[in-house]
Each structure stands twice: as C-alpha cells, then as structure tokens.
Subunit: 267 residues, 3 copies
C-alpha cells in the first residue's frame, strides 16, 4: 500500500515534469507570487488570470483550473463561477480551495455559488474549512456528521458524496477522501503553519498533479505527499519561517525519486 | 524609563504570542504576502479581507483592523470606510497607514474619508505622510505647525490632537506620540528603506500589539521597538536587501526577551 | 562596440543610482512585491498605483511609467490607457510589457487599446509575446514577417516600425531593436525562467533606466545587460529557484562597474 503511494508519487512527478502542464489559477492576492513560483518549481507552468472576459479561454488552454477564495469580491466570484462551469463542461480538472470558509457569509455564499456552477474534482482545505464547505453546500441535512474525533474525516466523506469528487483535509495528517477510498500522508512540519499560503500552495500543487494524472484521488495523494516531503526538506535547512518559505520553493524543485522513497510516510 | 520600555515590550510580546490574536488587514497588493508572514512570524494570525460585503464581519471576529492605502481604488476606499466605522463603533483598535499621503488627490481624499468614518487608535507613517495626513484631515488651521527641525513631531502631535489617538512617525528615530506623551525608538537599520513595505509591516505589527495591549501608546511603542530590533538582527545576517527581507521575517520569529534587553534603544 | 555597451551600462547605472528616479508601475498582482524590490535594489524609487483617479498624477510626478498586463481586468485597462496617453502627451518614457499576449482576446484587445492610447518608448516581451503584440497592433498586413529562424527579430523590427519605439525580445539572447539599430545581450541563466515574473522585472528595470537615459535604445540595452549579469551573479549563489529569487534581488543591489566589466557579453 505504502509502496504503491511511493511509486505513484514518483511516476506522477515524472509525468508532471515531462509534460509541464499549464495550470490556471484564480487565486488570492496574498499568495499569487508564491503559488506561481511553487508551480514553476515543481515543473508546471502557471497562469494567473481572473478577468471574466478571459477565464473561459484560460480554462480551455490550461490542463487544470484552481479556484481559491482567499481575497474575494463580487467580480471575482462571478469569474470563479464562469471558470467552474467551463472547466466541468469541457472535462478539465477543477480544484477548489475554500479559504476562510465559515468566516463570513460572503465566503459561504461564494462557496455555494461555485459548487453550484461546477463540482470540483478536488476540494482541499483544513478541517474547519471542509466542515464549513459541507455546511455551505446546503446539503448537510441528514448527512452523517458526528461528534467523534474523526468528525473532520466524516465531514470530508460527506462532502465527497455531495460533490462526487475528492476531498483533501490538510493537517498534521493529510486525509485524501473519495467515496469509500481514503489515503493518508503523515509528512510535513509544524513550521508550515507559520508561512502564509502553504495551504493555497497545496491546492495549486493538487492542480498540477490533477493536470497530468486523470485519477484525481491519486493526483491529490501525490500532491500532498510532495508538499509534506518538501516541508521536511525545507525544515532541514532552517527553523525560521522567512527562510523556510524560500527553502520550501527550493525543495519543490529539488524533490526527486530518492527523497520521495526516503521520506514518504503514508498509506 | 528605558527600563520600562524594555519590560513593556517583553511583556507585550509574551501576551501577543500567548493570545495569537486575529488581525484584520485591508492592505495593498504589494505587501500582502510579507505582511501576512510578518504577522505570523511575530505570533499573530492574519486575515486579509477587503470585500465590502464581509469587512464588518471580519472587524468583528478580529482583535484589531489595519487599513493601508498603498494601492487604492474606489471600491477599496468604501470598504475601508465601512471597516473604520465598524471598528470604532465596537471599540476595536483601528490602525491607519496613509501610504503615499500627499502624492495624489485620491490619497488625500481617501484619508479624509477614512478619518471621517472612524478615528484610528494608531496612525503610522513617515514624516511626509504624517504631515500630509494632518493636512488632509482638514483641521490644520490654527494648529501649531512650525518650521523648526522638529516640525514632523509637531505635526504628529497636532494630528494626535485631531484624532485623539496615537501617531507614530517612522524614521531613523521612531517617534510615538499621544497627547503630551512622547516615546522614541532608535533601533533599526538603513537597509530597511531598501525593502518594499517594511513601513506597511510596521503598521501591521502595531495592529498585532494593539490587539493585545489596550494602551495603544504602549502597544505602538512595543511594535516599533520590535521592528527596529528585528531590523538589526536581520542586518547581522546580510547586507543586501533580498536576503534582508527574508532575514527580517526570521528575526520577527526569533526575537525574544534577551534580544530585546540587549538591543532596545529607546525611552 | 562591446566596449561601448559596457561603458554605457556603467554610466547609466551610475546615473540611476545618483538620481534615484520615481518609476510608476501599473503591473500585475503576481509580481508587485518583487518588482518594487527590484527597483529599490537597483537604485530607483517604485510607485505602484493603478486607480484611474490618480494615474495621471502619478505619471506626472514620476520619471517613467511601466504598464504590465499580467493580471488584467477592464478597470485596469482603462487606467492603462489613461496613463499611456498622459505619459506620451508630456513626454515621459512609457514601457509596455505585453504579458501573455496572444493567450486571450482580452489581452490582445487590451494591447491594441494601450497602443492606441500612446506609443510606448519601449516594449519588452518574449518572442511569442512580441509576435502577438505585432499582430494585435492591427498593422501587420504587408509587414515583413517571415518563417526564418530570425522571425522573432523580424517581428520585433516590424513592431518597432509600427510604434516608432524600442522593442526588446527576451530570451537566451536578448535583442534590443529600434528602427535599423540592433543590440544583443547574451548574459543570464536558464534558472531565470523558473522564477515567476523576472520578465516583468526586466520591463520595470527598463523603466528605471529609461527614466535617467533619454536614449531609450541605450536605456533598454543597459537594463537587459544588468538583468542578465544579475542572473549570473545569483546563479553563483544557488541552483534552486526559491533562493535564486532572493539572490537575484541581492545581485541587483550588488552589481557594479567591476561585475559589469567582467561579465557583460553583448554588442
């Protein structure tokens, strides 16, 4: 099992670097630079474009579209809806990062509108965001949310049923959920929470792998494995967040079959 | 006197790191990433949100709101007004960074509108920005502006009288002014002027301290002390601005009671 | 020939550092921080301002305006048109970076509108963007585009005829074209393509040199020389893109007559 995750991640990374897919991002102002650099470092080609007049063309020429609601406003929501609809209609992978879900009505409403426009093939967030996204989907009634310690995973499974796609819950352990499938990645470092936007980077990296690996569950698992391993590689270089942010981009560029074999801790 | 600044800064930093307050930022595109990382590094939790439909909720859930006019446009000004009004109405600290005050009519008008919407508990800028903000407040007539070499400080005092809040003038010496109170911090390094947005970072750090220290004069003084000391710590690592920007974030994470005791030069 | 490029670059850099010109940027969200830091590092003073209500004032107080269409939307296009018209009307250098030209109708239309509002003194892009910009200018009919291996240079020459300004084609060899003049710079490193926005930085640095050197062909040549040399200096420090981005800013700050003499490979 673990063996297959390792080999899948290696193979998917090879495919990513050989194909260098265009990945379209409608993302927040805070992370645009880092997201673009992360995509370049792992081997993809980023395009950041949000104007409603060009998002359909961008979805069409790219191999995946990543929507991130970190710094929302109404014109951006409209572009996100249009991009989501287009991506689903032409069968392109669609990744949603519901940043700050639950923090405001605007965010909850935006999530509902985007989910209504097109079901993401991958949704990635932390436990709180996934729970709020499930609530925002308007389809939680009767769904198996529980109060157990695994409630985040249960919520993620429920959300996966609602969307029909993959749900990733980031944390000390990353859970990748799809229907009855579940994978776990236990790599990474706590310092990753002290750098802004590494969650956003994870979603963009999901987009990069989704662009070259049709099995979105496997693509998301490979992406989270690479994120966690790169975090550990960066931590070897530094224990402070400014230089960690830099070392993390370096690590995405340097990660290879050897580092994946040595470090991947998942199943 | 100096002793009390040192201890206050140490205590305020302890409070900041133990409470990890949410700090809401409506700031400019140029610095969003660095501002968020600086807030994380010092121990706060940043939220960047500008949409008029969610700023009131963000003000409410956060412990301080920082408004920075670096890259203005009309929709953002409206959100800033709304956020300022809300913050003042519910008694949350409000920090204003009047970036580029005096450089255009739009900026002067925006400052006037924001000041009209709600009086900031702290305004931070360089000497030129503070003077222009005083002029934009529309209340300079008869106020004690002079041509002496201390004119910036006089303008700052006048502005403090107008707003009833604290005014910080950044420079080789930082002046913290409130009514008849005046503190000075003489830390920092000239290389800080070669990195974009460290003034904006200073305002955000003021917000972080203002969120945990009700005395806004003391909060602003602690913030400027930490900024200056972190600048000196970064300068030990490098003399070039790219690596300085990185080392500065590291220093905000690494600063502690020892470095504050060793380096703080203020009164 | 090579000797004169070296001396010109040294002299122009001296002028830039002694005058520290204000450079106005209407640029994309992805690169704003890096662009501002690059301008500071080389010795200029950046202003980032896009609001339609202030762009004319910003053009007026600055010594050059750089327009970059990386993350477009309609309000920004209107501001770009207004800024272009103003810059040309008062004789300020105007630099256009047609990021992603050809990738969408919106971009092609925006380029056409900006070119219609005011002819840039310098246009800088990669070969594909220059070709698309030529096509977008609406004046390609009958122009000498060919299928030869030099077609990018031919397109650049044609675009130069259309605008009456300088055209820079970035690549392993940078071509600077103006009427019948042609210069080449063969510095730089392939790792520069793995960092987002170094093309945008090149355009901003063109603006910085254009602000202090009236001969825009010479200004653009000096700018590209400095970019390429800084890339080589950064590569000495690191072979990974995260730390390269940091080292590149350091190199812009550290570059001097000696490094220019040692490294400049152009004619």
């Amino acid at each position: 099992m673990s063996q297959s995750i390792i080999q899948n991640t290696i193979d998917d990374l090879d495919a990513l670097r050989s194909k260098s897919p265009l990945v379209h991002n409608i993302t927040n102002y805070v992370v645009m630079n880092n997201t673009a650099n992360a995509l370049l470092a792992i081997g993809a080609s980023p395009i950041m474009a949000h104007a409603i007049d060009e998002v359909e063309e961008m979805v069409t020429i790219c191999s995946a579209t990543v929507i991130n609601i970190g710094t929302l406003s109404e014109p951006w929501i409209q572009s996100m809806e249009k991009a989501a609809t287009k991506a689903v209609s032409i069968g392109k992978p669609l990744i949603l990062d519901p940043v700050g879900a639950g923090a405001s009505n605007l965010r909850n409403m935006a999530i509902r509108r985007i989910l209504g426009a097109g079901s993401p093939s991958i949704i990635r967030g932390n436990a709180s965001e996934i729970l709020s996204t499930l609530n925002s989907s308007g389809k939680t009634k009767g769904v198996d949310a529980t109060d157990s310690s695994d409630s985040a995973v249960d919520s993620g499974k429920s959300l996966s049923k609602v969307t029909g796609g993959v749900v990733v819950i980031s944390g000390a352990t990353d859970y990748i959920l799809s229907g009855t499938d579940k994978a776990q990645v236990r790599n990474g470092d706590a310092l990753m929470t002290k750098v802004t936007g590494l969650g956003c980077t994870a979603s963009a990296i999901c987009g990069a792998f989704a662009a070259v690996q049709a099995n979105q569950f496997r693509a998301a698992t490979s992406a989270m494995a690479v994120m966690g391993i790169a975090g550990e590689m960066a931590k070897i270089k530094t224990s402070s967040p400014g230089s960690f942010q830099v070392a993390f981009i370096d690590a995405l560029y340097e990660i290879n079959a050897d580092t994946i074999k040595q470090r991947l801790n998942g199943e």
